[in-house]
Symmetry: C2
Subunit: 586 residues, 2 copies
């Protein structure tokens, strides 16, 4: 396979890495001199993107993201990649490339960077701005070293040479990565879509991608978020036109909720507000933060005077106001929920308001969104939702675009990433239909190690560790699965603590046992049950402590109380609270 | 308004109730002689249907259903209607009409019937079968009196005369209700759709509905589940054709998951199995139960020998087996989840299996379904899902059908029911478009009382109580909201119990305080934190107990420990476990 990278102006590294000349090895990939690909996050879920490329003693990491936990992990803030595989190899890490400024692609940096020896980070200007902004929440950490890249850059990272190409997503300055390796060229897409009519940026650089394909691509690593959606993503221009229809007819304020990270959508809403003579108030910490960063770096164009403080909205007519806010997912404390529930200091819903949900619903949030919609339908004049109107376009390639990416890059091998397993599987079927032989398409799950050379590609038996690493408050990894199981149990039926004081001399229970219970039953109406529990506890304990047997096996006493009182409570209520007996000898 | 009910054969009550002749009153509805409609469940949510019609001293209830709790009510089995409004009026209850055999329409009967004085229930044969089957789980309760109705019946219920008409739903023998009242005729739709080509039943009786409309309808009370979906529900015949395509190509077993209550879907899958030479094994308690009831009553046609025991499936070729199972919602312990996770005694997923999800996803279950799909895509040959293929049709009228119902019945007043508020609102907008003046359309939420006569309709100021009634294990209503809040708190950050023994004489803390914590932090790795808590607790307690002040305010001591240790734990971990101090004086 002959590679002839076309050099651009603005390149950072002129020297062609000598090792890039063919160093391919035997037919069974897995040995030194082969290229390894190891997803540590993102292959099995749509979040937590963390992809490792390893060639001999060089490691390049693409993205380092967060995952928001499922509803069965109560109290957990988020999950991050398990980097045990990388720790003993940290001296080999040449750099971390961040493809774009979304938390699921860079949010784990503050939690992991130090443990990886603080390697340099490479990011475009807006992405760097987003990373630095988040870093302000971690003032005790050293500032990360972030080197600026553009689509003109070439970055030498040991045996790797990294280049970048422009794609469309719903945040500007997103890139795909071309990794030139001694084994061949890898195209790693990042999150992408091909928008023929994007707003506030150019169309994805199809020429460049085609050119890379023409030079020869060993491996395409491509995102799968929308692999089960046929067709092509709606253009942002179409979305903007539909939203404009709302601006044309809205009699009062427009309250538009979206993700704070959808900078492109915020731009559209700001432009339309300017066109229709509306001032814009921002509500929600993250939206204010992101607008500030994007505006400062020139990625968000706002006329002077457009953005006003929420406390000044009363100075304008209702038809002159747009409110951009967070909370389209029905999040409890987000701006839209507070506004809807009359808990916002300055804004309450008025009958003339038009509320616009301009984002999709993340699986798992449907119930909260339904409740929020209920509240808004009661109070607002009009509610517009993406399910019934094209007022949102996802940031991810649908089937036609994914196929187009495969056809443009013409890779020898293909690995689908960034998806639940079923999405990866559907994407692999698309790749097969697009002409890649089945044996050259590898579905790798988090922790699996794919090794390849020019002769072949396969998964190794060896695996990288992938036990969950949970972030809860200040703790990273200190919440183990047993803690989560306890939380689930506590949530189901609550807790029931019984404290018994035993006289060391007589073995008799001193005073009546104390009971503390939470989340089990409404205690005020259950005095009879509690009396019975106290009586039974005394009987169980004294049965074991007043006899001649010495020394007393206190663990056995506690086990007996736990089991017998647990059974008694179950018989009475069909519930199984966590019973915690405390027996104290005095 | 002149009513002329067309009498059918098989009628139960020949006498036209004398009170049905016009007895209309003054222009302001709300007085004696007016008709009241009170939703106690179902107006604000898609479940928990419980609708009350009241005329002077007569009450008729339509449906008495369950609601499955949201994810923020941990441990709760279900919610049922609050019937405080009915209790003082129970002698007036003439009967409960159940429109069809789904839990969200009859499941609360065992929990509520006794408190309402055990009024008679009216149901069609299959519905009665489903109610009686569920009643077997409540052997301690008296058997309910259920009187059989058909679409020919006329049931006198005090001042009300009830008739029934045939509609389509995804369980056979579903009916709509016509209530002849002294004020006028009410059409109460139940759950319905109009299927031009239904399977195993006749098309909804449009002629009958039109005839009722022609006679004059005072009030249409119509379901709203799919009010935000444009168009017309797909015909079951179309669904069956699409499923048949799967039967034509499946190389191995077909594993089809659906709701146990979708009797119509089960019938289709059984017919197709018979056509393609497959035996059918049933997996899941509720599916076996429902098939038994429906088969016994003749609502499910199965050839002798079609249904086999799961333990016999190995006697047939894989291509001769269909497995019908529960678990299409990703429920933890349901058959499909156990099969997918290799936890089923007799069935594991094989590479040649075709898995069919033939039901929609209930909002809130998306995450579980995604995880289940992931597992199945890894192990099964082919996974078919309703989102990508027309292998499911909902049981509820979409916008065209809802409009058709309005146009057929031509009601004077209209009340949308059976939906979240936003669905009711959208349905009310449809009704307006269909020609009903806005002021004659009432959106009533649970507990609101609508009063009407021939001159007008309005909501009264008076409301029926609607505080949640939660069923948890054997308890009905003994879990109050404070218990739920505790469960939520416990689930977030766990519990932290500190037990301190204080010497009554000296005020000194005897031995080191005991700590029991669950769901907060992994204790084995947090010994340093626990040591510090013990030390601080001792200092806090002794600071208050070793001084001269007597008597000691033990509640204040506990409050101090709770607050200071809580703050300390938060500073160290950014978590807020529930801190429960126990101070014992010995």
């Amino acid at each position: 396979m002959h590679r002839k990278p076309s050099y651009h102006e603005g390149r950072r590294h002129l020297r062609r890495p000598s090792l890039m000349r063919g160093q391919s090895h035997g037919p069974i990939p897995g040995s030194r001199g082969d290229l390894r690909f190891i997803p540590l996050g993102g292959c099995g879920e749509v979040q937590r993107s963390t992809y490792v490329y390893e060639y001999n003693d060089d490691i390049v990491i693409i993205d380092m993201g967060l995952q928001f936990p499922d509803e069965d992990m109560p109290g957990i803030d988020y999950l991050i990649a398990n980097v045990e595989y990388l720790k003993p190899r940290k001296k080999n890490i040449r750099g971390i490339i961040i493809t774009h400024g979304h938390y699921d692609h860079f949010g784990a940096i503050p939690h992991l960077l130090d443990s990886l020896g603080n390697p340099p980070i490479f990011a475009t200007a807006l992405t760097r701005g987003m990373i630095m902004k988040r870093q302000e929440d971690f003032k005790h950490l050293p500032k990360p070293r972030i080197e600026l890249i553009t689509t003109e850059s070439k970055v030498r990272l040991g045996n790797f040479l990294a280049e970048f190409y422009h794609i469309n997503h719903n945040i500007p300055d997103s890139v795909g990565v071309v990794l030139r390796t001694p084994v061949g060229t890898v195209v790693h897409t990042g999150d992408f879509k091909f928008d023929p009519q994007p707003v506030s940026e150019a169309t994805a650089d199809l020429h460049r991608i085609a050119e890379i394909g023409h030079q020869g691509v060993l491996l395409l690593v491509s995102e799968s978020t929308d692999a089960d959606s046929p067709g092509h993503q709606i253009s942002e221009t179409e979305v903007q036109k539909t939203i404009e229809e709302i601006f044309k007819v809205a009699p009062g304020r427009i309250i538009a909720a979206t993700f704070a990270s959808l900078i492109t959508r915020l731009q559209q809403l700001i432009w339309l507000s300017e066109k229709y003579g509306r001032k814009v108030a921002l509500e929600g910490f993250s939206i204010k933060q992101n607008v500030a960063v994007a505006q400062e770096l020139g990625y968000l164009k706002v006329r002077k005077g457009t953005i006003i403080d929420t406390k000044d909205i009363h100075r304008y007519k209702e038809s002159e106001i747009t409110i951009l806010c967070t909370g389209a997912q029905g999040e409890d404390r987000a701006a839209l929920m507070r506004i809807a529930n009359n808990e916002h200091r300055l804004i309450t819903i008025q009958p003339k308001d038009s509320v616009v949900f301009s984002s999709s619903v993340i699986p798992g949030n449907e119930n909260s969104v339904q409740r929020l919609k209920d509240t808004l339908y009661k109070r607002a004049g009009k509610v517009y939702h993406y399910a019934t109107m094209d007022i949102h376009s996802g940031g991810h390639a649908k089937q036609d675009e994914l196929t187009q990416m495969i056809k443009l890059t013409k890779p020898k091998y293909m690995i689908p990433i960034h998806g639940n397993y079923f999405m990866l599987k559907i994407h692999s079927e698309l790749a097969e239909k697009a002409g890649i032989p089945k044996e050259r398409i590898i579905i790798a799950e988090d922790g699996e190690i794919v090794s390849m050379n020019r002769e072949g590609i396969r998964k190794l038996k060896e695996r990288a560790p992938t036990d969950y690493v949970m972030v809860d408050g200040l703790g990273v990894g200190d919440v183990k699965e047993v803690v989560i199981r306890d939380r689930q149990h506590l949530a189901e039926d609550g807790i029931f603590v019984i404290i018994t004081i035993v006289d060391a001399k007589t073995g008799k229970v001193k005073t009546s046992p104390d009971i503390i219970s939470r989340g089990f039953i409404y205690l005020k109406e259950s005095q009879e049950l509690l009396r019975e529990v106290r009586k039974r506890t005394r009987t169980i304990v004294e049965g074991l402590t007043t006899g001649p047997t010495r020394p007393i096996d206190w663990n056995y006493v506690k086990d007996e109380v736990r089991e017998k009182i647990g059974q008694f409570l179950f018989n009475k209520t069909a519930r199984r609270p966590m019973v915690l007996p405390v027996v104290i000898e005095v």
